[in-house]
């Protein structure tokens, strides 16, 4: 039997991946998790490789997670965030890409507020591009770390019932997770306010539901999404109070799920808006594990992409 191998130059999303590729990333991440338990958490795997972290949109968590993953793999990383001199306002993305190409990096990690930016960069640079979140489109490493977390708790993904709750329309996390969970055989229900549900949510191959309690019924996994009520200048929800009343996850509501349900959140949480503290800090919460798994998944992705370029140790 031949070993599955990674051949892609870029990781732009979960949608194009096969179940085998997803499993390969997860298996690779498992082996990197072990490194985090060592006293010296560093391996020479990516020594001599340069990684540019391009964060056009601020995201301390995702950026730190990638940086840590790069350091643990001994890569040389360089950070550019919005406001830094390399990402000048007004410079076209194509010019930015040309400048970056001139630095001859091996990998680019890209976060941008608009969908499709990592795709455009991937077309224009030789480096491998990792999408670290493009608008409301995809956030593949988040879905992979969520899957790793689920797998470590449940031992499988196929056959699980997963409920994803919140602002589905504006979430990149949802889209990546929906693709991944479907490819690995879970059944997914998305739930949220009608004003925050994309018009064609059912075309994503999920069950769409507008009632939190119904969505929680029998769930093995509950993923809560961050409700960014303040970000919506267009009236999508009248108030935080109303939001929590309809879609806030309390312990009483969670009782409808399976007894061994795990509760996830991509962070940062709004306590008292989408999730009550009693749940966030409760027995089923795996939110902090997600953070730890995030580093391992990002190490795996960096490693696989670098190896696909050849010259990886």
């Amino acid at each position: 039997m031949s070993e599955p191998t990674w051949r892609r130059k870029d990781l732009l999303g979960i949608a194009p991946l096969s179940a085998e590729e997803i499993t390969l990333v997860l298996d690779t991440a498992e082996s990197f998790l072990e490194i985090a338990e060592r006293p010296i958490k560093k391996v020479p795997t990516l020594r001599g490789k340069s990684v540019l972290n391009l964060f056009f949109e601020a995201s301390t968590r995702t950026r730190s997670s990638f940086e840590l993953a790069e350091k643990r793999l001994s890569a040389d990383s360089l950070n550019f965030s919005s406001g830094s001199s390399a990402l000048v306002k007004g410079e076209s993305l194509i010019d930015t890409a040309r400048n970056l190409q001139a630095m001859a990096p091996d990998l680019l990690v890209v976060r941008h507020q608009h969908p499709g930016v990592p795709h455009l960069l991937a077309e224009r640079v030789e480096a491998g591009v990792i999408n670290a979140g493009d608008g409301a489109h995809e956030h593949p490493t988040q879905a992979l770390l969520d899957a790793l977390t689920i797998r470590r708790h449940k031992g499988r993904i196929a056959g699980l019932k997963v409920a994803i709750v919140g602002d589905v329309a504006h979430s990149r996390v949802v889209r990546s997770n929906v693709h991944l969970l479907a490819k690995l055989g879970a059944s997914v229900t998305v739930a949220g306010p009608r004003t925050m549900m994309p018009v064609a949510a059912d075309s994503l191959g999920v069950t769409v539901c507008y009632d939190l309690e119904e969505a929680l019924e029998g769930a093995d996994v509950v993923m809560m999404l961050r409700a960014q009520l303040e970000r919506h200048r267009r009236a999508l929800f009248p108030s935080v109070r109303d939001y929590f009343r309809l879609f806030g996850l309390s312990r009483a509501r969670l009782a409808r799920a399976q007894e061994d349900v795990i509760v996830m959140h991509p962070g940062p949480m709004n306590r008292g808006v989408e999730i009550a503290s009693e749940v966030a800090d409760g027995p089923g919460s795996v939110i902090l594990e997600q953070v730890a798994n995030g580093v391992a998944v990002r190490m795996a992705v960096l490693y696989l992409l670098a190896a696909a370029q050849g010259g990886g140790e």
Partner: protein
């Protein structure tokens, strides 16, 4: 006196119900005679049109020539060369220039530029409101005197229902058509593509079909109230088409145009072309369901015209991420081949109906000269080669714009030549 005989072609003229092999004699800028086996008068030039289709000159009622103000995107000169290369003998140009064509001097400037570059006729469209600000009516009378053929605030929908009512009423003094870019900008919000399955998948903010439909519905009621002539620019949804169909049955004076891209592409193209800004325009590429409704509207006669909404942008403006790119694509040099290949050879409509949509219909909608080869009509003629195969190559465009989602498409059928006022058009 000048004379030109176009001999041996298949003459298709929907205005006279003609589709047969006929010779066409042009004299002194007008159509002199139609007939079989015509002999050229002494001194007449002769064009051998055997194997070609001879039609009334094609007219595009919706183009952006960008001059004055945005000459880096297009000029009257480059736009008219593009028109001629694309088989058109006349274009109607939108007023969203800088300054806006909301007064006599801008209209005259555009016409002066056009006179210097006589590759095709230019029919300027004036603004509905001063500065296209949607507040006060522009001086229709002054602009008409200078040569404006219709009014529109294209790009800036007339939001104020009262202003729209007054525009429809006042335009009746000049028998002007009021053209609306129908879009409720509040419903559009920050939308960049059609709201549906593909916006859901791609995570791009959506523009619902209803953003168009609500304004078309309102305007049709206002057109009924006022008796004004109302034209829907780049109609893109099945619902809007149904509203037009139903209003026309009630006797409302309404017409509509659709673009080739809304007929041939759906919102899926945004994903297929991986977020290419060449799939970004307004209205956005709609659902497959809408595409099918528009195609049905071509066949059943509801649609009056095919117009390109030729919207050139500089490559630097379009070569950016999807969300940051301006809306719009070029169309003057692709429309004819796209329509011949996909609509005629593709079996959607017969050739005479296409010529109606590209010539007779546009002339009727805006009350323009042409659209007919009846004796006495202006001698604007287009020759088409139904069999020539072309591959769309933006680097060969006469337009300064290169922004098209059709690059690389191989198409059967192409324009072969145009005649303007009886003389063959040659491009430098």
């Amino acid at each position: 006196m000048s004379a030109h005989l176009i001999r041996g072609g298949r003459l298709v003229d929907p205005s006279q119900g003609l589709d047969e092999e006929l010779d066409l004699l042009l004299e002194d800028g007008v159509v002199a005679r139609l007939g079989a086996g015509l002999e050229p008068p002494p001194g007449a030039a002769v064009t051998d049109a055997r194997g070609l289709v001879v039609t009334p000159g094609l007219i595009d009622v919706h183009v952006h020539l960008r001059e004055p103000g945005h000459e880096y995107k297009e000029t009257v000169e480059s736009g008219l060369m593009a028109a001629a290369a694309g088989g058109f003998t006349a274009v109607a140009c939108m007023p969203n220039t800088e300054p806006v064509n909301d007064n006599r001097s801008v209209t005259e400037h555009v016409l002066r530029q056009a006179a210097r570059h006589p590759y095709a006729r230019v029919h300027p469209i004036g603004a509905i409101s001063k500065g296209q600000k949607g507040e006060e009516l522009a001086e229709f009378g002054e602009m008409v005197a200078a040569g404006v053929v219709a009014v529109s605030d294209d790009g800036w929908p007339v939001k104020n229902a009262h202003l729209m009512r007054r525009a429809l009423e006042y335009a009746r003094h000049f028998d002007l058509t009021v053209i609306q870019h129908a879009e409720d900008l509040e419903l559009t919000g920050d939308g960049v593509m059609h709201e549906g399955e593909w916006s859901t998948r791609l995570g791009l903010p959506g523009i619902p079909g209803a953003a168009e439909d609500v304004m078309v519905a309102r305007d049709l009621l206002l057109a009924e109230l006022t008796g004004g002539r109302y034209h829907v620019a780049h109609l893109s949804t099945g619902h809007s088409l149904e509203l037009v169909r139903e209003a026309r049955r009630r006797g409302v004076r309404v017409s509509c145009e659709v673009t080739p891209h809304h007929l041939l592409l759906s919102d899926r193209a945004v994903a297929e072309q991986s977020f290419s800004s060449h799939t970004k325009m307004k209205p956005p590429l709609r659902s497959q369901h809408d595409v099918e409704a528009l195609l049905a509207g071509l066949a059943d006669g509801t649609v009056d015209a095919i117009a390109s909404d030729h919207a050139p942008h500089h490559p630097d403006e379009k070569d950016v991420q999807f969300s940051a790119a301006p809306f719009g694509i070029v169309g003057l040099e692709t429309t004819v081949s796209l329509c011949l290949d996909r609509l005629v050879h593709g079996g959607v409509i017969p050739l005479p109906r296409l010529i109606e949509l590209l010539s007779t219909g546009p002339a009727r909608v805006l009350g323009l000269p042409g659209g007919s080869l009846a004796p006495g009509q202006v001698a604007d003629v287009t020759l088409l080669d139904l069999e020539r195969r072309i591959t769309v190559d933006p680097t060969t465009f006469r337009s300064k714009g290169r922004n098209t989602p059709f690059a690389g498409w191989t198409l059967r059928g192409a324009p072969a030549a145009t005649f303007l006022a009886g003389r063959p058009v040659t491009l430098p």
